[in-house]
């Protein structure tokens, strides 16, 4: 297993380095001079030139790159050109919020999507199957930024059941920082009131975000179950007299889901992408809204850092998914 994990890590590193080079080139080659932004709103041309020199933007590109690699090697992705704060710190402050949001969405999507997909496969080509397929495809076709606004209007404004925005009520102290995930921290400290607060705040954004994921999960569960149902061991289980419920919900499903775990990485990528718009609408203090702000202020260092950090997380999730896959399906690790 250790060898398996190491192998996956080694495969990831060149890709991440490539991404690093790619983003650097994008940021610097393109006709974008960050000096003016750095110099400030009322800067004179002379001031801008001074900034350009001070930050080394007048150096040749390869030299800038080497300087940058050195910085990153020291765990420094540079300071935001807008706020002058270390971007990595800002991003890591916001990371738990995004992770909490995406994982809750993923969990919700899985809890609803897997049974739906399974039923659709069991009742293959039935009315339920057709309706479910259209609905899940519809889930993929709904623009999340549009859906988010609609949900806010209904559940936060009209019905007034759920909070409109944010991650925690203003003015109340958030849970003690252990993991940074409010839902987890509040439970760890047995503060059920805090858990409740965190929970009601996450419902709308997580639901919005989960929609596309739910649809994907339902779709690949359906496909997986259909495929697994053709397997010999299912026929055997039937002939050997396993209960039908157990065959489908335990034996077939486990195999289908094991096969589908590899899809979760891709799904996670989709969630992170949607989070960019959704976080901003729900005012969720995560990396997504940070990215939107960075784009709007042309904070190229922040954009670069977000891209890299998302890349690293994405890689980590994919490795994690592979490890879980290997753990669920004992044959995988041994084939290596």
């Amino acid at each position: 297993m250790t060898r398996f994990v190491l192998h996956r890590l080694l495969l990831t590193i060149p890709a991440l380095f490539g991404l690093f080079v790619l983003t650097f080139i994008m940021m610097r080659v393109l006709p974008n001079d960050p000096s003016a932004a750095l110099a400030g709103e009322n800067a004179t041309p002379a001031q801008i030139a001074a900034v350009r020199k001070a930050y080394g933007f007048d150096e040749p590109l390869w030299k800038q790159f080497i300087i940058y690699v050195e910085q990153v090697a020291h765990g420094d992705l540079g300071n935001s050109i807008i706020s002058n704060r270390p971007v990595l710190r800002d991003i890591s402050d916001r990371l738990p919020a995004t992770i909490e949001l995406t994982f809750v969405s993923l969990a919700f999507a899985a809890c609803v999507g897997i049974p739906l997909g399974t039923l659709a496969a069991v009742w293959y080509q039935s009315l339920f199957d057709h309706v479910m397929r259209i609905l899940t495809v519809a889930g993929l076709a709904i623009a999340s930024f549009w859906f988010a606004i609609i949900l806010q209007m209904i559940f936060a404004m009209e019905l007034d059941w759920l909070p409109l925005r944010g991650r925690f009520p203003e003015g109340l102290a958030p849970p003690l920082h252990i993991t940074g995930l409010y839902l987890v921290d509040s439970l760890l400290t047995l503060r059920f009131d805090q858990f409740g607060n965190a929970f009601v705040h996450i419902i709308l954004p997580a639901f919005t975000l989960s929609l596309a994921g739910l649809a994907s999960i339902a779709r690949f569960t359906r496909a997986g179950v259909l495929e697994t149902m053709q397997k010999e061991f299912v026929h055997y289980a039937e002939a050997a007299g396993y209960q039908r419920r157990r065959i489908i919900w335990v034996y077939v499903l486990r195999n289908s889901v094991v096969g589908a775990t590899t899809q979760i990485g891709l799904l996670f990528g989709g969630l992170i992408s949607s989070a960019v718009a959704v976080e901003s609408i729900f005012d969720w203090p995560g990396v997504g809204s940070y990215a939107v702000n960075a784009i709007l202020t042309s904070d190229y260092k922040a954009v670069l850092a977000v891209t890299l950090v998302v890349g690293v997380i994405y890689a980590a999730v994919n490795i994690l998914v592979d490890v879980v896959h290997a753990w669920l399906d004992p044959r995988v690790a041994e084939t290596l």
């Binding site: 790619l22 006709p31 930024f145 549009w146 495929e227």
Partner: protein, 279 residues
């Protein structure tokens, strides 16, 4: 014929096909449906944000332009963008995939490692940073999407070619002395075409959605383009009173993406008997 019969029995796929057909018709017939482009670009400020009526079927937007006309003309733009992106991505991805799949040299390695790099970040995130860096506008959004979408085609083709490479009929061609381009384009390409077509169909829907998100985030189409995503973004400040300015472009995105996804799904069921599914 059997395939057609099987396809016709797949109700959602047929529905998807009908939607695509209708959308294409609308896009082609735009000049007939909306003869007066002034309604698209040139609003009357005194009639801004009017609710749907006999005169303005979908109401008017914040500059008094006809939302119906804009949604209709927007369909053309959406399809054009999606087609260009997918075509560009195929143009890069398929030859690259053919080459990388067929050969074993360092070039093949390079291509595949390059796809690793592009796939190391979720597509939208990368497209977002590329689009915002090369300057805003439909064209840069298109370039950004194509640049981030080709690896998907490359991977698909690569996998198929690897599978086919050792097939008997290819071996036979090779021993007959057929050149590599000939083998690739005459013998292998037709065999990977179905996989590419399926991915392209689903990619159309996916691209329309991603373009809309880029438009919404302000790195896509630019005013006065009646782009759907941009229209939703422009209209969202007028919610909830002027719901029509947001809802109809949103429905445009929804229905078109739905059509491509349903159809693509059905195609995949036909083409890929293993029912393997991904995005």
């Amino acid at each position: 014929m059997l395939i057609l019969k099987k396809f016709l029995r797949d109700v959602p796929a047929v529905l998807g096909f009908c939607i695509i057909l209708a959308m294409c018709l609308i896009a082609i017939l735009t000049p007939l449906i909306v003869p007066d482009l002034d309604r698209v670009y040139d609003g009357d400020l005194t009639s801004r944000l009017l609710p749907p009526s006999a005169d303005f079927w979908f109401g008017t937007d914040n500059l008094g332009r006809d939302v119906f006309a804009r949604v209709i003309v927007g369909s053309r733009g959406a399809l054009e963008v999606a087609l260009s992106v997918v075509a560009l991505a195929i143009g890069i991805g398929v030859p690259a995939g053919l080459y990388a799949g067929y050969t074993d040299d360092w070039g093949s390695q390079l291509v595949m490692r390059l796809t690793d790099v592009f796939l190391a970040v979720p597509q939208l995130i990368l497209a977002l940073s590329i689009a915002q860096l090369i300057g805003r506008g439909v064209n840069s959004a298109m370039v950004a999407l194509a640049l981030t979408y080709w690896p998907f085609f490359c991977r698909t083709v690569y996998g198929e070619v690897r599978r086919l490479r050792s097939a008997l009929f290819i071996e036979a061609q090779r021993s007959l002395g057929a050149s590599m381009p000939r083998i690739l384009f005459v013998h292998i390409l037709p065999n990977v075409a179905s996989a590419v077509i399926v991915r392209a169909t689903i990619g159309m829907g996916f691209t329309i959605m991603t373009t809309a998100v880029l438009g919404f985030l302000g790195v896509g189409a630019t005013p006065p383009n009646p782009d759907w995503g941009l229209s939703v973004a422009e209209g969202r400040d007028y919610l909830p009173q002027s719901w029509w300015a947001v809802t109809f472009p949103g429905l445009g995105i929804f229905i078109t993406v739905l059509g491509f996804n349903l159809f693509g799904d059905g195609l995949r069921d036909l083409v890929d008997p293993r029912l393997r599914r991904s995005r």
